[in-house]
């Protein structure tokens, strides 16, 4: 009632004093404390925090499954795990790391930080954002509960047909995998759309295209990759479900289908997927380097252009996953060329970062250490990538431990190390407290040593003939000692993550308070309190420079004129971010959660009967209708 009255008065932030402004904005934007209110939250920081924690929870599960596999492989013909459990574990490991950890965690950081970095009060489509989180959570739980019920998928995270088809994977295991894909794809697509709209329309006035922080650029490019890549795997997994559930024959060669079609569709998604994970990490690297080199990153324009170039090129590489399927030689050779070509924009980024560090006096805090680890490890992965891009060499190393080593160097070195750096970098912003530097340095050292000891020997094992995805190997193969070494390294790497967990738990309670800008960084997320208030900024900043906080040392220029009693944000033009209209951001709502429950129920049921889609559409329609029911908001009345 009071909100209504206030809206009629139309109080703006122009002439309010700070205390009054804070009180009114908090009342407008805050997430309530009751259970229903918490579940209804549409605050990007609340959802983002949940996203990050959930993704790290799945990292734990994926990591534990890796440790179990390494224990089994430490000795030849070990009897710790049988083929059944081992095959489930490597499937769960790959699926969890790719779909439930790597992609979501990058999106999670974007959900939390992109609105802060572009200077707005909430992400675009915040209810969709809440919905996407619930769908992600349900999809992940669905996968792991299935595993605990002994129906965990066991066909690999790539689920090649015919092995995953109805004939060779009876039961529900492959269906669980395929349906989990649908869950995570929906949530990924939703976030991608939110990020794009947030970046395009909600940037603070003055943040022209060439003032967008590099992390935001990276997330923008990633979001486009998601939108173009994910539909391919959704089509593929849907066709697989149809083959399995209603007897279509998309992939059955005996009935005119094609088993290679799956691989084309899967890798048309699967290769951009690698960049969906890696490109956000480059944004993190840029952010960390700028802050700890104490200068803007060298080569902003080439960096942005190479992000875009990598995005485009990543769609022209998928066949290099299929060099040994007997495709025509000349055609394959083109994909060698394109796969190697992507080294050029990626190399350019590395050179720009190195040039930045050259002309600086770097501050060696934990985030920067992780970035240095990133250089060391990721470049090895890039180099072995150049090797596997060559068709002839790939015929020897494809599907061996060499490739396992290669992509862990790329993904852990290229994405997880920057991510851990980002955790140390942004933890103070999220919690208001600093992580312990001492534990951080231990964490980094153990991760660095453990990683290399675990994964470098795999290069040699692959060349010595050890194929991937084997649950054991014969003693006379001579792979025992390197495998034992690798397993020991894996335990060290695992310990480093335990240290991170300890550090997070201890520091979240007792760490020194961070203040607004503990690293003296230049981008807008550091212009607000730590943790940020529900409304992010008391007044929307006006951006004058790529590193606004370095350009305006005393106080940030702001714009005024926004209503404080409704959830107003500024919507501007795409290129210049020239403010055009005041746009109301949606209120909290429980319906995204209910809609997610309805959708999850439908997907779950459809594993058992196609009719679930028909009957499930009813609750989905009801919840969506309620979600979008017009409420007569003040904006509509104006």
């Amino acid at each position: 009632m009071s909100t209504q009255a206030a809206a009629q008065e139309d109080v703006r932030d122009t002439h309010l004093d700070d205390a009054e402004l804070h009180a009114r904005l908090t009342r407008t934007w805050r997430t309530g404390t009751s259970l229903i209110e918490r579940l209804s939250s549409v605050d990007h920081k609340v959802v983002g925090r949940r996203y990050i924690l959930t993704a790290f929870f799945f990292l734990c599960l994926g990591g534990l499954s890796a440790v179990a596999m390494r224990l089994q492989l430490a000795r030849p013909e070990a009897k710790l795990l049988g083929p059944d459990l081992y095959n489930q574990l490597f499937t769960m490991h790959g699926t969890t790391m790719m779909f439930l950890f790597a992609v979501p965690v990058m999106e999670a950081f974007a959900v939390y930080f992109v609105p802060l970095m572009v200077g707005t009060r909430n992400i675009a489509f915040p209810r969709l954002n809440a919905f996407s989180y619930w769908i992600f959570l349900f999809g992940g739980l669905f996968l792991w509960v299935s595993f605990l019920l002994k129906v965990g998928p066991d066909v690999g995270w790539f689920a090649y047909v015919p092995l995953s088809g109805p004939e060779f994977s009876p039961g529900k295991r492959a269906d669980v995998w395929a349906q989990m894909i649908t869950f995570t794809e929906i949530s990924a697509l939703a976030v991608a759309i939110e990020i794009i709209v947030t970046v395009f329309k909600q940037r603070a006035p003055g943040m022209t295209l060439d003032r967008i922080p590099l992390f935001v650029w990276a997330m923008l490019v990633t979001s486009f990759l998601i939108i173009f890549a994910m539909p391919a795997v959704m089509v593929a997994s849907t066709m697989l479900i149809l083959d399995r559930l209603v007897g279509t024959h998309f992939f059955n060669p005996a009935e005119g289908g094609d088993s290679l079609l799956w691989q084309h569709l899967f890798w048309f998604f699967g290769h951009p997927e690698v960049y969906i994970i890696f490109i956000p990490a480059t944004g993190m690297v840029s952010a960390i380097i700028a802050a700890f080199a104490r200068r803007p990153v060298f080569g902003y324009l080439p960096l942005v252009l190479s992000l875009i170039a990598v995005g485009f090129l990543s769609f022209g590489l998928w066949v290099h996953h299929m060099f040994v399927t007997g495709l025509p030689q000349l055609g394959s050779a083109f994909f060698t060329a394109s796969s190697m070509l992507i080294a050029v924009p990626n190399g350019l980024q590395i050179f720009c970062w190195v040039a930045t560090l050259w002309d600086s006096r770097p501050v060696f805090k934990t985030p920067l250490l992780f970035v240095i680890g990133f250089f060391f490890i990721f470049i090895i992965g890039g180099m072995s990538g150049v090797m596997v891009a060559s068709v002839p060499i790939d015929t020897q190393v494809h599907d061996t431990y060499f490739v396992v080593a290669h992509f862990h160097y790329v993904l852990i070195g290229g994405a997880v190390f920057p991510l851990l750096g980002a955790v140390y970098f942004w933890f103070p912003k999220i919690t208001g407290r600093m992580l312990s530097e001492r534990l951080g340095k231990w964490n980094f050292s153990l991760a660095f040593v453990g990683f290399n000891v675990a994964f470098f020997p795999m290069h040699i094992l692959g060349l010595q003939g050890m194929p991937r995805r084997v649950y054991t190997y014969l003693p006379e193969m001579g792979w025992g000692s390197l495998n034992l070494l690798s397993s020991a390294g894996a335990l060290v790497l695992f310990t480093s993550f335990v240290l991170l967990l300890v550090n997070v738990i201890l520091s979240a309670r007792r760490g020194p308070t961070a203040g607004e800008n503990p690293w003296d960084a230049g981008t807008l997320e550091w212009a607000t309190t730590s943790p940020p208030l529900p409304y992010n900024f008391s007044r929307i900043p006006f951006v004058t420079h790529r590193e606004p906080l370095w350009d305006n040392r005393d106080s940030l220029p702001v714009i005024t004129g926004l209503s404080v009693d409704t959830r107003e944000t500024v919507s501007g033009t795409l290129t210049e971010a020239f403010p055009e209209i005041r746009e109301n951001s949606p209120e909290p709502s429980i319906w995204p959660l209910l809609a997610a429950i309805a959708v999850a129920g439908t997907f779950l049921g459809s594993i058992f009967t196609p009719w679930a889609v028909v009957w499930g559409s009813i609750p989905v329609a009801i919840t969506l209708t309620c979600w979008f029911w017009p409420k007569g908001t003040p904006e509509d009345e104006k």
Binding site: S332, A355, E547
Partner: protein, 334 residues
Amino acid sequence: MRFRLIFTAGLVLWLTGCSGQQSALNPQGPHAEHLANLFWVFTAVCSAIWLAVMIVLVIGLARRAPARLDPLQLDRGRERRSVIMVSGTVVGTLLTVIALTALSFVSQRRLFAPDKPAITIKVTGLQWWWDVRYETDSPDQIVTTANEIYVPVGKPVAVKLTATDVIHSFWVPSLMGKLDLIPGQENELQFTASRPGIYRGQCAEFCGWQHAHMGLVVVALPVPMFQTWLSSQSLPAAEPEDPARKKGQEIFVSKACFMCHTVRGTSAGSRVGPDLTHFASRQTIASATLPMSRGNIAAWVLDPQGIKPGVNMPNVPLTPDELESLVSYLEGLR
């Protein structure tokens, strides 16, 4: 006598070929040698680049440029120098990439240029073994075996690859790179073995429970020995003479064995599992998982599910006497 000779010769080869037998870095044929050389060239170039970047990075981190009070105060001259350095390295990267692509392409053309093969072998991948068939013009000369491929030394060999269940991948790293066996498709791979020896290979595409134990061996023999082997393999199984083996044969054709296996010259003619006509002439059993020996045959027949869990061969209940006779019979299938 002849078979004995081959068997002993094979055994000697087995022992000599043991060191690094399944390794891409231990090439035993021109193709694998070319691949290993190409691999080392790439490794050298890539390691050099990595090392160079690391050195520059470490120097950059160590040299402690003067601290700047205002992070935005950039030195024009230094920025320009960075532009030149970065542009130079990008051009260098591009040239390296072009050179490596060209090198890769030339190698690819040479390695996969189809040669006129001396023999053609059809290999079909199944869960979890390899069906091997030597194609000849006269149908009565067709030789069928399993999990072991005999080839003549120094002759180009073509292997036609297909699968009837799921995708597998044929990989004998010391002879040639791998190629997939895909249902509904036939791929062809060529290689030559330079020296006599036994070269182990393994399925390289995940194919289910026993992917880890889907091995095979390639046995390269001098041409005359190969011809002897081939003609001996085309014969039907010898009729057992002593009573124990006779009894073993009766068990084979009356218990579950004959429902999956063929022994040419008997009523067992099913093609679900490996052809066992000359079973005991092989080096290994259970897809290159166990060395051929009386004890291993008994162990495998008694408990295949214990040795390779999930394998399609069931545990068949046999009395100790029956097992004894059956193993004797199998041992006699030379």
